[in-house]
Symmetry: C2
Subunit: 755 residues, 2 copies
């Protein structure tokens, strides 16, 4: 019954995660929209409203908008610097670290959630080159983890007795599901969201789990659609048609006409591959430049200098706004496209495929072809891309330049120099912005930069192909999509999930094969020059992220475990003098030590393994004087044997947490001990060691050991002799639900009887 109950709860909880994330997405999106329209609305009124006395007005418009920008940036920066430092950045490196088995203190707190999601709305509102997707990933993880803890507390799944090595896999599962849902609601892409977590978190190890994740992502996307529809027109809800909402699409859902919009020719395949390679180069360049920026930042704007970090956010926002304003103000003016001019009668037909619907020409002109500082009847060519929110300019790049099916309608093409300027400016700003002390996602900036790159490539191909195949019209916005995917792939080195994410969000199902090829090339090229941006940042932080070296081929099958293992081990005893322990720690740099009463006298001699303990934990124990006692064989150190409440246990575990990741040096720790302690104190590690490390057979193939390392996320694997002693055997029967429940019931009865 308990199992049934819990299983049911797991499914329900997955659906609840979806619902909550749907709400969160709706609220944050709404806030972003409000802030964007506030800031740009104000700026636009100042720019367009006053035609006379242009120069003074320009300066006034610039200063006032800059002030608003800085205020918004101050909120974003303040939330990070003064509320929760972990809310900075995209959160994907942290989540990835967590899902790979390393706990970060405070990563999953409610305060972090609020600071992150509130902050990202202000980051985007302030015009930072940032997207909401990364923070949504983090937010999803927080919601998943939070709901899971709530569930396990309130429904009593938590083990009552304190237990040092409580398996937190369940929680991790829910964090993974939440992460997937976060991606899904951010992009409106349920499959892509799930694949993102599969690829980055490597956490969905069975299909039931995968299926629960899918439930959560679908419910999340569904909820956010419904809320948007309710917000849009609640009275007509029963008549509202639903389809996949596409965040990056220019059009609303059910009016979209996507399958007419993408096409490609067989000879474009190598071109797409080259765009992929280009994306890989640019991604690697971005990573390497960003590493330098980060190094500079670590030196002059350290994380603990809150005020400088706060100021930096404002400075970056001001810089970004200045760049955008200057481009807008210096923009050449272009004539409004013919179909949009007053007096042009053919509006309906020409713009049919844009599906602007009932909107008047006036509205379309204001929304999409704003005149800004241009004379009447003209629009600001640079302003169209530079002086709009980032996600908007990305949409324009994907769709506005498009060419009709019969090759007409080049009216909406962007100027080539605009594309180049946009690409260069956004790439530079993105490089500077990533890592700033505000919540910032990388996806949208990278996609926008890439789509500009794709458009540039497409225009070149168009000119060249025009000489050879005169009657062939290539699809420029297919190039924009391909370029966007190449750029994101080059920066993050994700593969399958990006393919699907881009496909789902742009609706470019027809492009799946070119997309896949492009991203493949981007990853292959990028990996030659750098790691992905997330892995790079994980490394910079020094988190013990488990890289996944590829082991394959003959070596794994031809070698036995006992041919590659280390035979010489440095062991420690369960209870020993602190002085001796420090001596051992100082004598080597091993990361973990086997614990045994009778150490082997020579390498390769079998010894009894009582457990294993990491260097970090030993140092923490010494630092906090945990498990210290007087050396009397009868003593049991009270701090590790005597606590009774869960709080005591949590306090103890708190002290032992792997924060910061880098262990203190043993010399520092030793220096903190008084000479009395050094001389007389003993330490008992037996309660805090891992008492059942993974073991494998000496005769097994290395490939098996590799699989155990991979699937169990290990750092050490102990090796038995080649004819190991065994005491029992388990079959599948022993692990199926009914049997274990039965055994558990018996055990509970036995414990009750003993009391």
């Amino acid at each position: 019954a308990e199992y049934q109950n819990e299983e049911w709860w797991k499914w329900t909880l997955s659906a609840i995660i979806g619902v909550v994330m749907g709400f969160v997405a709706f609220v944050v999106d709404g806030l972003v929209d409000k802030l964007n329209s506030f800031r740009f609305g104000m700026a636009m009124r100042l720019v367009v409203g006053d035609g006379e006395n242009q120069d003074a007005s320009k300066f006034y418009a610039y200063i006032s908008s800059l002030f608003v920008t800085c205020c918004l940036a101050a909120v974003a920066g303040g939330l990070v610097s003064y509320v929760e430092p972990l809310a900075a950045g995209s959160g994907i490196p942290e989540l990835k670290t967590y899902l790979n088995g390393v706990h970060l203190k405070g990563l999953l707190r409610l305060k972090t959630l609020l600071a992150k999601l509130g902050g990202v709305a202000f980051s985007i509102g302030a015009g930072l080159i940032a997207g909401k997707e990364g923070p949504f990933v983090h937010g999803g993880g927080l919601v998943g983890g939070g709901l899971c803890s709530f569930g396990s507390h309130s429904l009593g799944f938590k083990t009552r007795r304190p237990n040092h090595f409580r398996n937190d896999r369940d929680k991790r599962d829910f964090v993974a599901i939440g992460t997937a849902t976060g991606v899904a609601v951010a992009f409106g892409a349920p499959i892509g969201g799930m694949l993102f977590t599969v690829e980055e978190g490597t956490s969905f190890y069975n299909s039931s789990m995968l299926w629960r994740g899918f439930l959560a992502t679908c419910v999340g996307v569904l909820t956010s659609h419904w809320l948007e529809q309710l917000d849009f027109d609640a009275t007509d809800f029963a008549r509202a048609k639903f389809g996949t909402h596409r965040d990056f699409g220019l059009y609303t859902d059910d009016e979209a006409n996507y399958s007419k919009q993408y096409w490609w020719y067989f000879w474009e395949v190598p071109i797409f591959a080259m765009i992929g390679c280009l994306g890989g180069y640019i991604g690697a360049l971005f990573v390497n430049l960003n590493v330098r920026v980060t190094a500079w930042r670590a030196k002059y704007i350290p994380v603990n200098d809150k005020f400088r970090r706060f100021l930096e956010v404002i400075a970056v926002a001001a810089l970004t706004f200045t760049v955008m304003f200057v481009f807008m103000a210096a923009s050449p003016c272009l004539e409004i496209p013919a179909p949009l001019r007053d007096g042009h009668t053919n509006l309906a037909n020409e713009l049919d495929r844009f599906e602007y619907g009932e909107a008047s020409k006036e509205e379309i002109r204001t929304d999409f072809f704003s005149k800004m500082y241009c004379p009447e009847g003209y629009y600001s060519s640079y302003g169209q891309l530079f002086f709009v929110p980032l996600s908007q300019s990305f949409k324009f790049l994907l769709h506005l330049g498009e060419v009709g099916e019969n090759g007409q309608a080049h009216e909406f093409l962007f100027r080539f120099d605009l594309l180049v300027f946009y690409f260069l400016a956004m790439f530079s700003l993105m490089t500077v912005t990533y890592g700033v002390g505000a919540p910032t996602g990388l996806f949208v900036p990278s996609l926008a930069v890439g789509s500009a790159m794709g458009q540039i490539c497409g225009r070149i191909v168009n000119s060249v192909s025009g000489w050879i195949l005169t009657d062939v019209q290539i699809d420029l916005h297919a190039y924009a999509v391909i370029g966007a995917a190449a750029s994101l792939g080059g920066a993050t080195r994700m593969t399958i999930s990006i393919t699907v994410l881009v496909m789902e969000t742009t609706g470019s199902m027809q492009l799946i094969i070119p997309l896949m090829l492009t991203i493949f090339c981007a990853k292959a090229v990028g990996d030659r020059f750098s790691h992905g941006i997330y892995d790079t940042h994980i490394k910079i932080r020094g988190a013990p992220f488990l890289e996944e070296p590829e082991l394959a081929g003959p070596a794994g099958d031809k070698l036995r475990v006992n041919e590659v293992m280390a035979k010489t081990m440095i062991t420690i005893k369960p209870r020993m003098r602190v002085r001796d322990l420090i001596g051992i720690l100082a004598s080597n740099d091993h990361g973990a030590f086997p614990v045994t009463e009778n150490p082997p006298t020579k390498p390769g001699e079998p010894f009894e393994l009582h457990g294993t303990i990491t260097r970090n934990r030993l140092l923490k124990m010494i630092t906090h004087r945990i498990g210290f006692f007087d050396g009397n064989p009868e003593s049991r150190p009270a701090d590790v044997y005597g606590y009774t409440t869960a709080k005591d246990r949590d306090d103890l575990l708190d002290k032992l947490k792997q924060i910061p990741f880098k262990s203190p040096h043993v010399a520092e720790v030793a220096a903190s001990l008084s000479s009395v302690e050094m001389d007389s104190a003993w330490i008992d590690v037996s309660r805090l060691m891992q008492r059942h490390p993974f073991i494998t057979h000496a005769d097994a193939r290395v490939s098996r050991a590799y699989r155990i390392f991979r699937t169990m996320g290990l750092r050490h694997l102990y090796v038995t002799p080649d004819k190991p002693l065994v005491v029992g055997v388990m079959t599948r029967k022993d692990v199926i639900q009914e049997n274990t429940s039965l055994t558990l019931g018996e055990k509970a009865e036995r414990i009750m009887a003993e009391r």
Copy 2:
């Protein structure tokens, strides 16, 4: 260098698998088309061509067409019965068994490939209620496995020295990739194909593997598109636009207009869920009926009675044709829809959304509204669905009944009674056909049945909703898609892969969330009544398929391995009298035995584990007198110690293969031994036992043991004492590529030096 080389080869091979499967799909599709148009063309000429003397002509048409049908069926049946029995059925159960770790002899032979793929063309050509998808899965596996073996032979990756437990994981990987590619090319669905193998094969355990699979599926789909385009119009290849080919779509690729075609309302969500439940019921009914049919078949048409099995195929084909012909002949006649009538001027607009393009009304009428036995100006209502190839009628169900966006155009609605008849007839025929001695896939039949079910439900909902929301127009072909997914989900119990497959093939991206919900319900309901059809057939065959019981929750974390393990084990010695061994085998029904020189004297006492050997292998050894010797301590039985060539080894392993799955009974085996053998023969199992079984720590949590069982695909797991002896430790460093290659190099040098 060897590693680099091999890695490169793995990627290349994946791409080659894609190319080959693309070719295969193109060829088989072409053959199916040819056979279909031959058979239906002939029948149509007989039916339509001669208007006079109807009754005689009907009989003549029936008999002649039946003859052709039976001839085609005879080819399909003959290929199975007289060429390769393993070509029967869909092949998915066999592949699933293989991917889960059980080798079936002959499953991966070239002969099987030809019989399967040639056979399925004739099965479909003969009008059996069958699809090509299952056989394509098998075909893909064959191609993957075949190319892999070829590669490993020709590039010298094969280990030179005979090795009993050679890890064939590499081969399995390629079979999995091939399987995914098979699904992908059959459906034109690269993501769905990959997810199919992830879900059914549980074989993609890392993202590099996943990525290679994706490469293969994409290349496969790409190749088949290009070939089709070349076949269609080679001269215009450079100008051909490519998009996702949709096998189930009614339209050609780039003309399609899908996003206008599917929509849904929020209140339809519970209705979709109910359709899912219905699909689950119907799927379970199908499975249970099919089990009875299979039992009946096993009794009266055993697999080894080739002739009866051959006749059955012909009989089923004749029955199917008769049903279809009778419905067609008895069909009510309906007037041709107004826009298609001669003299109707508005053709272009009305049919715009069908994109028939240049086709004349005459052609459209012949192709889609055939008059058959109806008078001029009318078309055969039943014949439209019954007297066309199955995949064609499925397309009609998905698209022909569609309602325009503004609710007009009910002209193309099917008659309600036709839908019901079609559903019942196809369901019955599908139940009878699955398991017949010809290559038959289940996907298309199940989808067709389901889409009829969906249309029926949609029509009912339409009537009801018409009373309440008069101005709301539901989307009938969204119901057809949902119904199709529900039916397939109910029959196969796949989840994610069906969602994506259906989405990709119908282009119904908008329906992903309803689809997911529907399939979720279908699986949940279906699982209450039966296993999936594939698992059921795997069980019927008695293959040792590893069911995946769900272990979760408190029991796994609260129990230790030593609380659930079996402490009493029956051990055998490495060398023992045959008589004693038979005694042990007869005394219990354990599936495997630990091998040790010194058996424990009481339960739970540690003993040295030399290895483990299965009952099946022991029985095979006794049956074939393998490892027999005279009991002299110095003797080494030559058959297991003495062979020198790879062929000797292969012959030996062949004898030990797990075919048939069910072990012979020990009494039978014992009876085959002469009394001399019984008295004096000894057996040496030490060379043929598994020498390094998986082991775990007695103190570990049961949840860990469960994960090891799951991820390593084990049946037994040995348990060490709670303070096990160890001789070494491995770290991640020891398993990364560079280090193992180095060690391997040293080992090779050492071996050379010793010679």
